[in-house]
Point group: C2
Chain length 329, copies 2
């Protein structure tokens, strides 16, 4: 386990109570996703898949967005966010369910399938260059009096994502290692809060594409680094292109996460193929990185069960078709 | 609900006790699959998907095969079956878990991906013309002293499949209509036993490809008909080509099932696409027929929730890729 020093300048971490409150709040609105045994497990490291791609919005993001929406004060007139797609879709979904208008600022390298899905949920979409997303969202918030629901740098969002960790601990208390995709690190922050409370000895490992490994560099150097949007845009994993963690998620990662490993682009695509053909799960590239990390790195994990979070499944059909027809590497 | 007369020559139907015993027996060995809300539901008919493609063997067949294996007498030296693929794969899976040798007779129009999967589970595979499958399995049984575990005409197998119905009733007691793929009718027989006991008013509807509609013709004419294997081989739904029901499953269908509807080949492929892109589920053609029936026929269903059983997901990657790249009809 990592050292848990913190500093007086570091934001306070969430607690298990926050995650439990989120779980009670969102239960009627999200799917309690199954933990599925994978048929291609290596001896000594049985692999289980936490299938968050089966959420109605196609990704775990529905948990945090729903918790944030259900936490709003009664007079709220609308919400706005910036998102590479899945958080925006989730917020649109949760806002529509609550009868609130939603505006979503998306970077212009977001797959069309994700933008179309947000529009179908009655949300307004504003497309901007990747570097402008936070600024434009903030402008819209100020101009219209909306509440900004950020994709990860928010206690309510992190607490909602933490319910994934709560369910893993309930379903597989003997788990030894949990693999979690990292972009802004809202998911791994929430999961780490729940798992450190419930299963203190479990190894929590973040996964990034090597082409967007800002969090790994932060953890290695001990200070929060930022990669340029142009640099993180190289990876096929469009959901993992956030240029850096936030102060709040960085505090969680630094204090609660054991390691962050990297996977190559070809390993991500191979994992998508394995998930589709052997687990019958459609994963987007970002949703496949944890399964890819299992394939690449499991020999170095402690003996015992491994959970890989399949975080989302909103993929362009043409990309999935290509992955299915190319020979596996 | 259908008339429940029966006749003294008709085989006895299974009971809810049989299904409950199967549920207790197989629980540690199968996945309790989720019931997932579908995003493309029509008003008045919310659609839920029972995702049996997420079983470790890729299809509901693992339930019946596991129950049959766990029912064997202690001296059993091996099992044999005939199967278009998914039952064979399930039996191989369950037999390996029990340390028993398995032999699977498959028709020669079975997709290679299904045959390869059976071989990977250490079972022996015997490939024969479609019309010879039952005879060859019987010969192997007699020659080697194996126990024949048929794909559907077996009380233990039907009771195991019935656990799908038990879970539907537990998870969605307000369900109004349940759609179930029909081939030999082991699945719908077991589901109907559970649902008639737990939710007597629910409408139970079988689904067949129009190109393999022997069960619909049997139900319409009131007597068990058989279609030639050459005729049922026309459908892309390779798991639904059994040429007729058995006496036991026919007794269940005749007395417990409300209707059997048909779907076209293009409707099956369109449903595969919708399941992959909007529910993130890989379904094989046979596994997509119930979702296809929802699209084609929901306007005629009683008001209220509809469950479509996604029965399996063992599809050739090239077929799935083709479905994803063709324009939806």
């Amino acid at each position: 386990m990592t050292e848990q020093t913190g500093s007086e300048h570091s934001p306070a971490l969430l607690t298990m109570d926050d995650v439990r409150a989120a779980a009670r709040r969102i239960r009627p609105h999200v799917v309690r996703t199954p933990l599925l045994p994978a048929g291609w497990s290596a001896p000594g490291h049985p692999l289980w898949l936490k299938a968050e791609n089966l959420q109605p919005s196609g990704a775990f993001k529905l948990r945090g967005a729903t918790n944030a929406i259900l936490n709003l004060s009664p007079g709220t007139t609308g919400v706005v966010t910036h998102s590479s797609g899945n958080h925006g879709r989730a917020l649109a979904h949760a806002a529509r369910a609550a009868g609130l208008p939603a505006t979503v600022v998306v970077p212009d390298n977001t797959p069309p399938v994700k933008i179309a899905a947000i529009r179908e949920l009655s949300a307004q979409v504003v497309v901007v260059p990747p570097g402008d997303r936070e600024r434009v969202a903030e402008e819209l918030r100020a101009r219209h009096g909306f509440v900004l629901v950020p994709p990860f740098e928010s206690p309510a969002v992190i607490a909602g994502q933490g319910t994934v960790g709560l369910e893993i601990a309930e379903d597989l208390p003997e788990v030894a290692t949990v693999l979690v995709p990292v972009s802004g690190a809202g998911l791994i922050s929430g999961i780490a809060v729940a798992l450190r409370a419930l299963l203190p000895e479990v190894r929590i490992i973040g996964v990034e594409p090597a082409d967007a490994a800002d969090a790994a560099e932060s953890l290695r150097t001990g200070h929060l680094v930022r990669w340029s949007p142009e640099r993180t845009a190289r990876t096929v994993a469009d959901g993992l292109r956030a240029p850096s963690l936030g102060e709040l998620t960085w505090a969680h990662v630094r204090q609660l996460v054991d390691d962050i490993v990297q996977v190559r682009e070809d390993e991500i695509l191979a994992a998508m193929r394995v998930l589709a053909t052997q687990a019958r799960l459609v994963a987007e590239p970002s949703g496949a990185v944890a399964a890819a990390a299992y394939q690449a790195h499991h020999a170095s994990f402690p003996h015992g069960p491994v959970v890989a979070v399949v975080s989302g499944g909103n993929v362009e059909p043409s990309l999935l078709a290509r992955v299915l027809t190319e020979r596996p590497s």
